[in-house]
């Protein structure tokens, strides 16, 4: 299990122009604590320069933390980074981290060498990984001729070359088409559930995080502001309920009547029309009252349900709150 507590990272940067620039300290990460269990997928979300990438770089030992502790399976990761490197790997979005002059096979072979993967299993592993990312027919073509998506797929294979115990995925599906993204998501699930790997995932696609992650950490300005499952986060962020009502007949008059009557149960209720939908926002559970009211008013219900807030709604709301 990965246990990081109170991680912080300060950078010294030079500001201004010319030779005699002033040095300034920037706190990219102020205080972040998190845990990654083997067999689980943990999401890391952030709002505008939250410190996600710096956190990942610290967890992958690329950056030394300025403060805090970081243990991987009871081993001090700050003290023994070389031991940690053997057990982890990282996949970042984009076209970096691979050699463009080499072929896909040569890339994976080279990384296999520097990760000290035994040659007896390396060939088979390369073939499996190339098949996984759909590059088995392109293995002998130089990477510089690959499309952006193909380079990204090769990067994913590179990240798995050492069969890591913990995997850090920084926007892994950027640039991938829908089919490959879906395959990758199912493989990420497979790696966690069947291969018992601990995975940390960042992504701008909220549905991806919702679909994959067992637990989510939300960062802002270098600090952890929320954590929990997607459902817990939504429940914690939204204390109001949203109902969607679709009627066979709809008018401004109906909206006004609903608004007036529902406010008798909850004075904070808001009713608004959006196309053929009526959206009702209330601090109370008013589903029973709503259906009763429709019957009394002679309104025929086509569809009615309570809309659960999505992770994206949670992030948007949190973003508004922190910038307010």
């Amino acid at each position: 299990m990965i246990i990081a507590e109170h991680l912080a990272k300060n950078f010294q940067v030079k500001v201004g122009k010319g030779i005699f620039r002033e040095k300034k300290s920037i706190e990219a990460v102020k205080d972040i604590s998190l845990q990654i269990e083997k067999g689980k997928i943990v999401g890391l979300l952030g709002i505008n320069g939250a410190g996600k990438t710096t956190t990942i770089k610290m967890l992958t030992t690329l950056l030394a933390p300025s403060a805090g502790t970081y243990f991987m399976d009871d081993m001090d990761a700050v003290k023994y980074p070389m031991e940690i490197k053997k057990r982890i790997n990282m996949i970042a979005g984009g076209e970096r981290m691979i050699y463009w002059r080499l072929t896909a096979y040569e890339n994976l072979w080279y990384y296999g060498q520097i990760y000290n993967v035994p040659n007896s299993i390396l060939k088979q592993r390369i073939e499996e990984l190339l098949a996984l990312v759909g590059l088995e027919g392109k293995q002998n073509i130089p990477v510089e001729t690959f499309s952006k998506g193909m380079k990204q797929r090769l990067q994913i294979a590179r990240g798995l070359i050492n069969d890591p115990e913990y995997l850090f995925l920084d926007e892994p599906t950027i640039g991938l088409d829908a089919v490959v993204s879906k395959e990758l998501r199912s493989h990420i699930k497979f790696l966690a559930q069947e291969k018992n790997k601990g995975i940390l995932l960042t992504s701008h696609y909220m549905r991806e995080i919702e679909e994959l992650c067992d637990y989510i950490y939300i960062l802002n300005d270098g600090c952890l502001i929320k954590q929990g499952t997607a459902r817990e986060l939504a429940a914690d962020t939204f204390n109001r309920r949203n109902y969607i009502l679709k009627l066979y007949e709809q008018s401004d008059d109906i909206l006004a009547r609903l608004d007036h009557n529902l406010r008798q149960y909850d004075p904070t209720t808001e009713v608004s029309g959006d196309g053929d939908c009526i959206s009702i926002n209330s601090s109370e559970n008013i589903s029973l009252e709503l259906s009763r009211l429709c019957t009394q008013e002679g309104l025929f219900i086509r569809e009615m349900y309570e809309k659960e807030p999505e992770l994206e709604d949670t992030i948007i709301k949190l973003s508004k709150e922190v910038s307010a």
Binding site: V13, M97, L102, E106, Q113, N116
Partner: protein, 270 residues
């Protein structure tokens, strides 16, 4: 030692070089050798022929300035080619976006740099050998060469070039500059390390600096072995001094490299 990293790096670099710079790069490098020899020859013919001071022969043990300058120039060519590849290896990874994936891996740097060094040694040896063939008609003389001493001098030279490359690599990675640092170093080495004239002609303070650059010893060893036919035991002091100074460079290079890698990665993110 982990030969997998060395072998992997060797193969990767050879393939990259072959694909990035096919035959024209090799021809270009051979032409550089030719121009170096031509420059030395013209310098000799137009400036120094029949104008050599007797002090030159006293200091160098030979009055054959042409062979003196050709051996010096070819050693310098070997230094430049080798140092360029090894010292620029990590900053090239940084520029190509592979530094992070490399730094993620649990491997020791020494095999990585040796792999780079080996690639450049192989390609540069071929280039310099062709240059030597070109230099023969210009008048380079090998009649007194001491083969054993010469081969040992080459090994010491490679060790010394490796040390200098490591230190230069640290400067490059720290400053993220290649051109200013490499050209400054090479110009300085060319002027003070006895490439085209004995370092004894330099002011005392500059000579002291030259003594702490292993190239001064390397050039002397190669010249003594090739032009004067001096054996290994005859040059024991120079061997020991050059090896010691080179070791200091290697150690400083490896100690600083770890720090410079950290600084480079921090600079990427900050």
């Amino acid at each position: 030692m982990d030969f997998k990293v060395l072998r992997g790096t060797l193969k990767k670099e050879l393939l990259t070089k072959y694909r990035a710079y096919p035959m024209d790069f090799f021809i270009g490098n051979v032409l550089t050798g030719f121009y170096t020899i031509l420059g030395a020859y013209m310098m000799y013919k137009l400036l120094f022929e029949r104008n050599m001071n007797s002090s030159f022969a006293n200091l160098t043990g030979t009055s054959d300035y042409l062979s003196y300058v050709l051996v010096g120039s070819l050693t310098y060519l070997f230094l430049v080619r080798t140092c360029l590849n090894v010292s620029r290896s990590l900053i090239t990874e940084l520029r190509e976006g592979t530094l992070e994936s490399l730094m993620l891996a649990p491997f020791r740097r020494v095999e990585y740099f040796l792999g780079n060094m080996l690639v450049q040694t192989l390609t540069t040896t071929m280039e310099v050998m062709i240059s030597v063939l070109v230099a023969i008609p210009f008048g380079i003389s090998f009649q007194y060469i001491h083969i054993g001493s010469f081969l040992l001098a080459i090994v010491v030279a490679l060790y010394s070039f490796f040390g200098i490359s490591m230190v230069l690599g640290c400067v490059m990675l720290f400053t993220r500059d290649t051109y200013i640092s490499q050209n400054t170093l090479f110009a300085f080495v060319f002027l003070v390390c006895g490439i085209t004239f004995p370092s004894e002609y330099l002011p005392a303070w500059l000579r002291t600096i030259a003594d702490f650059i292993p190239i001064t010893g390397v050039v002397t060893l190669i010249r003594n072995s090739v032009l004067l036919g001096k054996g290994i035991s005859e040059q024991s002091t120079i061997w020991i001094n050059t090896l010691l100074i080179s070791t200091v460079y290697v150690l400083i290079g490896f100690i600083l490299m770890q720090k410079c890698e950290e600084v480079a990665l921090e600079k990427i993110h900050s």
